[in-house]
Amino acid sequence: MNRIEQKFRELKTKNKKAFIAYIMAGDPNLKTTYELVLELERRGVDIMELGVPFSDPIADGPTIQKAGLRALRNKVDLKDILNLVKQLRKRTELPLVLMSYLNLIYCYGIERLIKEARDKGVDGMIVPDLIPEEAEDLLKIAKANEFSTIFLASPTSTPERIKKIAEASTGFIYYVSLTGVTGTRDKLPAGLREAVLKIKEITPKPVCVGFGISQRKQVEEILKFSDGIVVGSAIVEIIERNINKPDLVKKVGIFVNRLSG
């Protein structure tokens, strides 16, 4: 059992839900990312997603696009991020997940990446432009290495597809709350609760909801029916607003603390 599965087991016994935070690795630099991960763990984050910057992030809205550009200006790549995780592992057992577009993984070599990532302490990955049907090789390698593969389900996924997605997912299933790209929204989409409950009828695996979440009351609402939530753009916006300020890490920590409750 890897750290993600352990975490969900632990949360379940405590009757708690997972708060998952996303930040772009290398935004504004790797040293800050290192400090942010440790700070956010102290502030109640259960699982950390580290974004890998890509030139053409088609599933992301403007906030994360800009964060990616900032990281790319620092020439941050997968190798740097794996090394960052290695450093973090000296200080924390927080479950760490990579969120990367497929071409970066493909160019690195799928097997090489999964093995190195696992060795350095990464627990799994989310690939927004990969669907289970195209993931045969990756799934085999991930399974052999006890590396979690978290697939996305969306409002347009049919029950048959949800089944496939649930089968291929280890750790948890990432439910995309809306049809759209990442980014904060004022309102939760209609029918979210029903959609999540439907997935939970199909699979016993944890279902976490992401995309569009930025307010405490949204978090509270979603945690009533899901196993966890993912917050990305809202956190990245705080980072963006506090770039070059000495108390960036603290400010992000306070914000996340307020969200996670």
Partner: protein, 394 residues
């Protein structure tokens, strides 16, 4: 016949997209498969291709150019004579009819040179669809005339400021729109790129170019040509010409990519010569990319070729050796542009001007009984202003 069920041409192709879009791609694939078997759909498409777009287009023997080059006989497949001025309308008519069949009321598209954008805006006007076109800001500057045409046709043109502000970024933005409005919107992709079924579907709609060419050359020459030559950006006009000749092994295919400032300059769009295999914009194919997999910026004087990827079927043709891919620089393309204008009284678009220049090198090396067909994929009106600027600056 390729692609296989999962949309692969050999190892290339597939469907690499966010989960939200799977539903729309399956819907499109199902509708297309139904339409293909529906005689009415085919008749309707044929009607519009003939009465509205102006098909069949002539296969014109370029006598002056042939005499000037003193070699193989050169024929031009005159896609430039189509309504809207380029081959793009073949595909947009087909996809617009599919959009209507799917009951969708909104159509979006990316455009580079603006030819595809104009062709989409045109069919949107014709069939009463709401239309949004994404176009890189750099391209908006280079192709002001086409931007104005799209607006006249009732489309909204949205400028894309991200990245290289060209075709690649316009596709990113169109994909983001599609993910958001997937239930009501059809994404009318303009080339043989993207996730399955687009490379197959766009090829099938463009294959009318090759099918007509085949019967026309048989009528005029009594035999098949020796060479088919076309420019390759994403690769839709070239696949359209090549595909119906796939099994005619004696017919050689040459795809001409944009060499930009030269292949060693790094400023080019020669994906098949200089790119590496990767997975981007929905399919596995060749892409211009950094070692770590970041997508590079392409460069070409012609906006329609300025794309760092290429359709998976071309990647397959290259891999199995069915087609040869070469490149022609910006400067050489301008030579081709001027030569065809002067010798035949036909001003080509800068995209096929690449193919024309290549033929000026190839034809003289061949004997006079050989036959070359060039796909003249579009007319040059859209480029005249920019070419005049370049020539006066040179």
């Amino acid at each position: 016949m390729l692609p296989d069920k999962k949309g692969y041409f050999g190892e290339f192709g597939g469907r690499f997209i966010p989960e939200t879009l799977v539903y729309a791609l399956e819907e499109l694939e199902d509708e297309y498969n139904k339409a293909k078997r529906d005689k009415k759909f085919q008749e309707e498409l044929d009607y519009y291709l003939q009465e509205y777009a102006g098909r069949p287009t002539p296969l014109y023997f370029a006598k002056n150019l042939t005499q000037f080059l003193k070699g193989a006989k050169i024929y031009l497949k005159r896609e430039d004579l189509l309504h809207t001025g380029a081959h793009k309308i073949n595909n947009t008519l087909g996809q617009a009819l599919l959009t209507l069949r799917m009951g969708k009321k909104r159509i979006i598209a990316e455009t580079g040179a603006g030819q595809h954008g104009v062709a989409v805006a045109t069919v949107a006007a014709l069939f009463g669809l709401e239309c949004v076109i994404y176009m890189g800001e750099e391209d908006i500057n280079r192709q002001a005339l086409n931007v104005f045409r799209m607006k006249l046709l009732g489309a909204e043109v949205r400028a894309v400021n991200a990245g290289s502000r060209t075709l690649k970024d316009a596709i990113n933005e169109a994909l983001r729109d599609w993910v958001t409005n997937v239930r009501t919107t059809h994404y009318c992709l303009g080339s043989v790129v993207g996730p399955h079924p687009f490379p197959m579907l766009v090829r099938d709609f463009q294959a009318v170019i090759g099918k007509e060419t085949k019967s026309e050359i048989l009528k005029q020459e009594g035999r098949l040509p020796d060479y088919l030559i076309a420019c390759v950006g994403g690769g839709s006009n070239s696949i359209g010409l090549f595909h119906p000749f796939f099994k005619n092994r004696q017919v050689k295919f040459i795809g001409v990519e944009a060499g930009g400032w030269g292949l060693s300059s790094g400023k080019h769009a020669a994906t098949l010569e200089k790119g590496k295999v990767g997975i981007f914009h929905g399919s596995k194919s060749f892409f211009l990319q950094e070692k770590g997999g970041q997508i590079k910026l392409a460069h070409s004087v012609s906006a329609g070729l300025d794309y760092p990827g290429v359709g998976p079927e071309h990647a397959y043709y290259k891999k199995i050796g069915r087609a040869e891919y070469v490149s022609v620089t910006d400067k050489e393309a301008l030579e081709g542009f001027k030569l065809l204008s002067k010798s035949e009284g036909i001003i080509p678009a800068l995209e096929p001007a690449h193919a024309i220049y290549y033929v000026t090198k190839l034809a003289p090396r061949l004997s006079q009984d050989k036959i070359i067909v060039i796909c003249l994929s579009g007319r040059g009106d859209k480029d005249v202003e920019m070419v005049s600027k370049i020539l006066s600056g040179m």
